[in-house]
């Protein structure tokens, strides 16, 4: 129940225009860009399940690209996905799953395109890693996360073109 409440709180935070992070006197916060985040379960099993397209503009050949970085896995299933605006001055949360999610703070545009970001990779109430990252449009960031069941959880973050 408490975890659910926390997640609901996170959900509210991802919509600051409607929620608590908004400053009513200043309207909607400025948006630096849009990111797509997905939590993926990588397993060794061969890919024999029915193919289903995702709802978001996923980067091209994602499965093949994941397989090159995680060669011990042959099957990549999306557990959840989230298309989220990255706000200037306000934190944004990319929450494809209530269990594993990402806090995104914009540090402004990067020279030559993209956004300077401070990311925090969360599992439940715990920060697993903090990172300063320059995210370039269309250039994915794969975060190899914890093991789960017979595979591994991977977080994919892409700045939309």
């Amino acid at each position: 129940m408490r975890i659910l409440a926390f997640i609901c709180c996170l959900c509210a935070m991802t919509h600051p225009g409607q929620g608590i992070a908004a400053r009513p006197d200043r309207g909607q916060p400025a948006i630096e860009g849009k990111v797509w985040g997905a939590l993926i379960h990588a397993t060794a099993a061969s890919s024999d399940a029915a193919k289903t397209s995702t709802t978001a503009p996923v980067i091209r050949d994602l499965q093949q690209r994941l397989a090159k970085v995680f060669p011990e896995h042959g099957r990549f299933e999306i557990i959840g996905e989230h298309l989220q605006d990255v706000f200037r001055e306000y934190e944004s949360w990319v929450v494809p799953s209530k269990d594993i999610f990402l806090k995104v703070d914009s540090k402004g545009p990067a020279p030559g395109g993209g956004i300077n970001l401070h990311l925090q990779f969360w599992r439940d109430q715990q920060v697993l890693v903090k990172t300063d990252t320059i995210l370039k449009p269309g250039s994915p960031l794969f975060i190899g996360g914890p093991k789960w069941r017979d595979g591994r959880l991977i977080f994919v973050l892409v700045l939309q073109e």
Binding site: R2, I3, A5, F6, M13, Q125, Q126
Partner: protein, 203 residues
């Protein structure tokens, strides 16, 4: 006669470190960070009760202080000035998050566990069961504080933890001394109510 040795960092007064920091000496500022990080972190932690966010807020306070140092005229103690910066940032964060007063306290936010014997000096030699009891009471107190509104929480922390006088609290918030007294009164009343069962069971 040999030259007197350089003073230990702990002996260098704040004013000296502030002057050096204002001249751009980031190592002097590092000493100020070391000197006050525990107190600033304690304040941010007590205010928001989340270790990660409190850590970030405390760090942000020092960064803001560094940026504002050129304008610091030393008309108050450095710590008082720093505390206000940290407090304003934390209060602003709380307001944005609206953690306060929105229902059930989520004690899973309380990641930071304090060792039972480390809570306070008088309990340092307490027997294990006594120490456990103290730790439990400490948790309950923190849980109760988390249920206060941001306005009430800040006055309680400023008064009870920092030991600030009413006029100092009023200047830090800022608000009138009458408001400080009212908030303190209602905050304590609310805490009494929240901790009523704890005290009754202890009797």
């Amino acid at each position: 006669m040999p030259a007197s040795p350089a003073p230990e960092p702990a002996e260098i007064p704040d004013t000296e470190l502030v002057k050096r920091s204002q001249a751009g000496d980031s190592r002097a500022f590092d000493l100020l960070v070391t000197r006050y990080r525990g107190r600033i972190y304690a304040m941010t932690y007590h205010m928001i009760q989340n270790e990660t966010e409190a850590w970030d807020l405390a760090q942000e306070a020092f960064i803001k202080a560094w940026r504002a140092l050129p304008g610091f005229k030393m008309d108050s103690a450095f710590y008082t000035w720093l505390y206000r910066i940290a407090h304003n940032g934390t209060y602003d964060w709380l307001r944005k998050k609206k953690i306060q007063g929105d229902g059930e306290f989520d004690d899973s936010r309380t990641e930071h566990k304090i060792a039972a014997g480390a809570e306070t000096a008088p309990y340092a030699d307490a027997a294990p069961d006594e120490a456990l009891k103290n730790a439990e009471l400490g948790e309950k107190i923190r849980a109760a504080i988390a249920q206060l509104s941001a306005d009430h929480r800040q006055v309680i922390i400023m008064r009870e933890i920092e030991g600030m006088a009413y006029d100092e609290i009023a200047a830090a918030i800022p608000c009138s001394i009458g408001t400080v007294m009212s908030r303190l009164f209602y905050a304590r009343k609310k805490l009494q109510e929240l901790l009523k069962d704890t005290y009754e069971n202890a009797k």
